[in-house]
């Protein structure tokens, strides 16, 4: 692997005690000539919430986008390394990116419902992947997903209305429902609450905690409180390097690396 800063101390990564869903080894990423990730090794545990924290531009979102190969859509991005989903290398030529993204869903920073009805937003994934056998099956999937996202009660009577007409928090839950509808194994969330008010944020956080039963979740967040509230495991990124990863409680109470300590105590960031 290229250009790891030798002066940096080795990352402190506490091993997982549960089953591993995603295992990343030696992930490097370049945007054109600029390197954004340096040799990241990180495991994401099955059916738990892993929080990625760190100051702006530290590479946490970039790493998240590597997991379902969203970086493929950026022409200048180049990834070197090995990321395995259930032991299968997702960057191998045999893996189909469309198939991968059906298994690894994503929720974005700003709610981005399509300019379509609420129903069509949720039905979008099942339709493109051909998951529903009939109209009533599709109705079931939509209902299930909206219920799972805690939005059903609010929108049950206005499914044909445009998704863009909902409030910000509802839009984001709609996007979560949209992701759930494909029944993925992993849901990646890229600062899902940064555009929301505190009440909407609280509802999403509860939802995340609840979804953990069925899904593996990786969430990028700016807020350390949020990481502490929703995650079981936390990884701290700094300048494109994974500094420390371990159980959330440990990261926030007794981090092993000085930089993590400085960050969680609010000395920088």
């Amino acid at each position: 692997m290229v250009t790891t800063d030798q002066a940096q101390p080795k990352p402190v990564v506490m091993p997982l005690d549960g089953p591993v869903k995603i295992a990343a080894r030696g992930v490097n990423l370049w945007y054109g000539a600029k390197q954004a990730l340096f040799d990241v090794d990180l495991d994401v545990g099955a059916n738990q919430v892993t929080a990625l924290i760190g100051p702006s531009g530290c590479g946490k979102s970039t790493f998240l986008r590597c997991i379902n190969r969203m970086n493929d859509t950026i022409p200048t991005a180049r990834v070197v390394g090995d990321i395995r989903l259930d032991g299968e290398d997702i960057y191998s030529p045999a893996v189909d990116v469309v198939h991968l993204r059906a298994r690894v869903g994503m929720v974005f920073q700003k709610p981005n419902p399509f300019p379509k009805s609420i129903y069509d937003n949720v039905a979008y994934g099942p339709r493109i992947h051909g998951l529903a056998e009939s109209k009533s099956h599709l109705d079931d999937i939509v209902r299930f997903s909206l219920e799972r996202a805690g939005l059903w009660k609010e929108v049950a009577d206005r499914l044909p209305q445009p998704g863009t007409g909902l409030s910000g928090g509802q839009q984001q839950r709609l996007c979560i429902a949209r992701a759930i509808a494909v029944s993925p194994e992993v849901i990646l969330m890229d600062e899902p609450c940064s555009a929301l008010d505190p009440i909407a944020t609280a509802r999403i956080e509860e939802l995340i905690d609840d979804l953990r039963d069925n899904f593996t979740i990786a969430i990028v967040t700016h807020s350390m409180q949020q990481a502490a509230r929703v995650s079981q495991r936390t990884a701290f990124f700094h300048l494109g390097i994974l500094v420390e990863a371990g159980p959330t409680e440990q990261i926030f109470t007794s981090p092993l690396d000085q930089r993590t300590q400085d960050y969680v105590t609010g000395r920088f960031g």
Binding site: H129, H137, R143, L207
Partner: protein, 438 residues
């Protein structure tokens, strides 16, 4: 709040493994659709480009031969008895002489076997009708030649030219070549008297009914005069309007109206501008028909919105900090504009103006309305003399029945395209050269 974590009363519709299999099953079909769609896109672009290639290609194939023309070298005896029997030297007598007869005798000397009237007519038919006038002009310019035998080069008739280029066969209904003419041509060819040369008539002559002496000079000059008027009116007015709208106009309903109006004007059919020109400039103001002045006025009204829109974009590109700096120094708004904004946005405005002019150069329809279709055999002398322009000349030639005009129309099109290419290249060069990143 806690009811958010409600457990759905519906079971998950699909188990994970089943779903994975289902997605995988459909992948092939979806990728086929993807490839089809992408192919359609590529196809669309290819069709458009193929059409462009076809369009320019046919013009090249038809037009390039028209830049060459056949000439016949022939010795003419300038018999004083036929030109100026009394030796008066009076230009009127010399001018009125029968040069057709002189030409005919020259041809007959070469082909003594031509005896009957039909054959003699055929012989004369080999050379351009205008050759007699060329001969007359030569003698008028240099009367000392009378009495001598001179070798002159005349353009052949257009049919002969086409025949030599292999564009028509003897049997064609278009090719009115008699057997005698074909034989005569073969002999002349063998003598080396027939030769192909650059068709300078195309650039030094003006319109003519005879294809072999028809040229573009009058139309090019007409276009030039028209464009001078257009640029002279539209550019200052367009810049002034752009400056006012960007720098001075209050943002209210009135300026909104002006804005909407300018955008609309840019999309009004050109023929409507022609009607305006006809009703306003010709009928109301009594301006002369067919004049470059009126053509220029009409085209400037049409180019105005284009130049205003480009000008506004250029002014918008100047960062506000420069404006604030100048105003902060105590400059008045006019001074700010004339010292800073205008010089900085001038390249952009010029680019817009050149593109507007290129557009005006290719415009035909409104000029038909104001009579610029007149058959003008001379180079226009000024802004108010009758004139035509290049695209109108193309339109006129396209309508002429002679086969040779098809080639000449294409040659005229190529000439027009070269002018447009030059203008656009200049605009691109300007844009590249003065492009500024703030």
């Amino acid at each position: 709040m806690t009811d958010i974590a409600e457990k759905p009363d519906v079971a998950p519709p699909l188990a994970s493994a089943a779903r994975r299999a289902q997605v995988a099953r459909r992948l092939k079909k979806r990728y086929a659709a993807e490839a089809r769609f992408r192919f359609l896109g590529l196809l669309a672009v290819s069709v458009a480009i193929a059409f462009l290639v076809l369009l320019v290609g046919t013009q090249l194939i038809q037009g390039v031969p028209a830049f060459l023309a056949s000439k016949l070298e022939i010795s003419v005896t300038l018999d004083p008895a036929k030109i100026d029997p009394d030796g008066t030297g009076d230009p009127k007598v010399i001018g009125d002489a029968n040069y057709r007869d002189l030409l005919l005798s020259a041809l007959q000397t070469r082909f003594p076997e031509a005896q009957d009237r039909r054959q003699r007519r055929d012989l004369l038919g080999l050379v351009s009708t205008n050759a007699t006038y060329d001969l007359r002009d030569m003698v008028l310019a240099e009367p000392a030649l009378i009495g001598q035998t001179v070798t002159i080069s005349v353009y052949t008739d257009d049919v002969v030219d086409l025949y030599r280029k292999g564009k028509i066969e003897v049997g064609d209904p278009d090719a009115k070549l008699s057997d005698f003419q074909v034989q005569a041509l073969a002999q002349l060819e063998a003598d080396g008297a027939l030769y192909t040369t650059f068709n300078s008539a195309l650039f030094v002559n003006s319109a003519s009914r005879e294809p072999e002496s028809a040229g573009l000079l009058g139309a090019v000059v007409g276009s030039l005069l028209t464009l001078v008027v257009t640029l002279g009116i539209a550019f200052p007015l367009g810049v002034a309007a752009a400056v006012y709208l960007e720098e001075f106009a209050p943002k209210n309903r009135w300026t909104d109206l002006i804005e909407v109006n300018i955008n609309n004007l840019a999309a009004v059919p050109s023929i409507v501008f022609g009607l305006l020109g006809l009703a306003l400039f010709l009928n109301l103001f009594g301006m002369p028909r067919s004049a470059p002045l009126v053509g220029g006025l009409v085209l400037s009204l049409q180019a105005l919105p284009i130049i205003i829109i480009a000008g506004r974009a250029a002014i918008k590109a100047v960062p506000p900090s420069i404006r604030e700096a100048a105003l902060g120094m105590g400059a008045s708004r006019i001074q700010t504009v004339s010292h800073h904004i205008l010089p900085l946005s001038m390249p952009g405005m010029l680019t817009g103006a050149i593109l507007g002019m290129a557009h005006a150069l290719g415009e035909t329809a409104p000029l038909l309305m104001i009579g610029m279709v007149a058959f003008v055999a001379d180079v226009p002398a000024g802004f108010t003399s009758p004139a035509t322009v290049l695209p109108v000349q193309i339109y006129l030639w396209a309508d002429f029945p002679e086969r040779a005009f098809v080639d000449r129309t294409s040659a005229a099109i190529l000439t027009l395209l070269v002018f447009l290419l030059l203008m656009n290249a200049t605009a691109i060069y300007l844009r590249k050269k003065f492009e500024r990143k703030w």
